[in-house]
């Protein structure tokens, strides 16, 4: 029972015998008050539209991320390249026939622009922690890209969101 209370205290701030209405908004407010600017990672690894596949694979082996943003020469976010896509391209020869058509086309091009998935999930700089967290849960994405007028500013990862929220609660 004491364990239970500990968990409760952790995740549902406030006790349940009184003042239920007063503790909660503070938590929500805090979550809303934290702008993504506070949790955004600005020091990120990006790919350029002109990067060759070999370079991209190299990036995947050097860094730990699952997804990399692709930017054009103006610094605008134009697409993403995921682990899944790279693995697909690497394994083209052992993939079943059906998936070949679109992949074959992709593998013909040898730069990031030709293989990337366009239309990544982005947020504006004025969104808050709650917005981003909801977006991640509802649409099942592991990271969102923060853009300012199309220009890539940084990345918010699910892990950072979890750590931030558990910090607020704890």
């Amino acid at each position: 029972m004491s364990k239970m209370n500990k968990i409760k205290g952790k995740f549902f701030t406030g006790s349940n015998n009184s003042k239920t209405g007063e503790d909660k908004p503070s938590m929500s407010n805090r979550c809303q008050r934290i702008g993504i600017n506070d949790i955004i990672k600005k020091d990120i690894v990006t790919l350029s539209e002109g990067d060759l596949i070999e370079d991209i694979i190299n990036v995947f082996t050097k860094h730990r991320f699952h997804t990399y943003p692709v930017i054009n020469d103006k610094g605008n976010l134009t697409g993403v390249i995921t682990q899944n896509l790279i693995l697909k391209i690497i394994l083209l020869d052992i993939m079943p026939q059906t998936d070949h058509t679109d992949l074959a086309v992709k593998s013909l091009s040898n730069d990031a622009k030709g293989i990337m998935d366009p239309h990544p999930v982005t947020v504006n700089l004025d969104s808050n922690l709650c917005d981003v967290a909801k977006l991640m849960v509802k649409h099942n994405v592991n990271q969102v890209f923060a853009v300012d007028n199309g220009r890539l500013v940084g990345i918010v990862s699910k892990l950072d969101v979890i750590n931030e929220i558990s910090k607020i609660r704890g």
């Binding site: 549902f12 349940n16 015998n17 239920t20 503790d23 059906t98 998936d99």
Partner: protein, 393 residues
């Protein structure tokens, strides 16, 4: 052409209205039911075959997804044993009020049985949000509600299987027929268990290596439909088969990977179950509701009170105080699931008439609207009294 129009209109109405009701704090199912009612106003006196067929698929997918995604016996095991007594009392009281009400109004035993089962189900989805808002999730009545609703789900599906199987016979079974039913059920479960433990795992080893697109997802759907059909072959109802098929697949890791799960839930919640709930609204006989006979009123009142009183008594027995018991009693009032499947089957088999059918749909609607309000009221009342009479936790 008309069929496409119907499906298009239903889906857009169901989703838009669903969002509306969700936003103002009720279940989105309400919006889906209303979408059907609205459509019935424009498409007078027709029962388009496509619609009823899609609704049948909706019911199958509703139960399949329940088994595939949501029932976890492990979670049940960790659920508090304390919940058993209140669960039994609330189901028992709701069941008997339905049954007795049926008998009083001179319905046949089989009809009364259908009503009784429709009275017994609980679906607390919306109330969870209120519990969270009021910080009551881990309170005594709150946690009791959560676990009781899970037991209730299982009990509901169990009763559904029985009553729906009986429905296939069109009359109350004799003793020997009961034995045959149980024999069939046992044989069906046994075959499903063999398939699930021995054959499906091996089958999926091949399926995931297949070259065709979406092989795993397709076979999950194939097994859902096969299970439904297989149950029918045993003269059980398709929805039971779908439910059992779902549980069996939920234990096969490769059939449950995230990618496949989200596709199944997309197909189910994004397409078929809204059609099922809309069909409920579509087939309601509005004239029954307009006249609001004594019977209709009593169905609504008794179904809600059965749960309220049963829940109250049960939680009193396990030692909750009166205000907590009241909160629990209100907590098990809302419906929105199994009972609608029960009455649809009953109606399609010609066992229950439009009067019972429409009254129960009304009862479901009222329960969805009334229980969140009552719950808020009860919690507020408790808060006030605990402020005045020293704040003892």
């Amino acid at each position: 052409m008309e069929n496409i129009l119907i499906i298009f209109v239903i889906l857009i109405l169901a989703k838009v209205l669903g969002e509306f009701f969700e936003r103002i704090g009720f279940s989105s199912i309400l919006g889906e039911i209303f979408a059907g009612i609205i459509l019935s106003l424009f498409l007078l006196s027709q029962d388009p075959e496509t619609f009823s067929f899609l609704a049948e698929l909706g019911a199958i997918f509703l139960l399949f997804t329940a088994g595939y995604k949501e029932v976890h016996l492990q979670e049940l095991r960790s659920a508090s044993k304390k919940a058993i007594i209140p669960t039994i009392t609330q189901i028992l009281l709701a069941f008997s009020s339905g049954f007795i009400l049926g008998l009083i109004f001179n319905f046949q035993i089989l009809e009364s049985l259908f009503m009784a089962v429709a009275f017994s189900a609980t679906s607390i989805g919306v109330l969870v949000k209120i519990l969270i808002d009021y910080n009551y999730l881990s309170s005594k009545p709150g946690s009791l509600m959560l676990t009781s609703a899970i037991f209730d789900d299982i009990a509901g599906i169990f009763m559904l299987s029985i009553v729906v199987t009986v429905a296939e016979l069109q009359h109350l079974p004799s003793f020997s027929q009961i034995l045959t039913i149980f024999a069939k059920l046992a044989f069906f479960m046994l075959s499903m268990a063999v398939l699930g433990l021995k054959i499906y795992p091996k089958l999926f080893d091949y399926i995931h290596k297949m070259h065709i697109k979406e092989s795993i997802f397709s076979f999950v759907i194939i097994i859902a439909l096969f299970s439904a059909y297989f149950a029918e072959a045993f003269e059980l109802h398709a929805v039971i088969g779908a439910f059992v098929g779902g549980i069996i697949l939920s234990r096969i890791p490769i059939a449950k990977i995230e990618d496949v799960q989200s596709k199944v839930s997309g197909l189910s919640y994004g397409m078929f179950t809204p059609l099922f709930f809309a069909y409920i609204g579509f087939t309601v006989d509005l004239s029954v509701l307009e006249t609001t006979s004594l019977f209709t009123v009593l169905v609504v009142v008794m179904a809600l009170f059965g749960k309220l009183v049963g829940g109250f008594i049960g939680s009193k027995i396990v030692g909750l105080d009166s205000s907590d018991s009241l909160i629990f009693g209100i907590g098990v009032m809302p419906r929105a699931g199994i009972e609608l499947v029960v009455i649809t089957v009953g109606r399609n088999r010609g066992i229950i008439g439009d009067e019972i059918y429409s009254a129960i749909v009304l009862m479901v609607i009222v329960s969805i609207i009334v229980s969140p309000m009552l719950l808020k009221f009860a919690i507020n009342a408790k808060e006030k009294s605990s402020f005045t009479s020293s704040s003892n936790p």
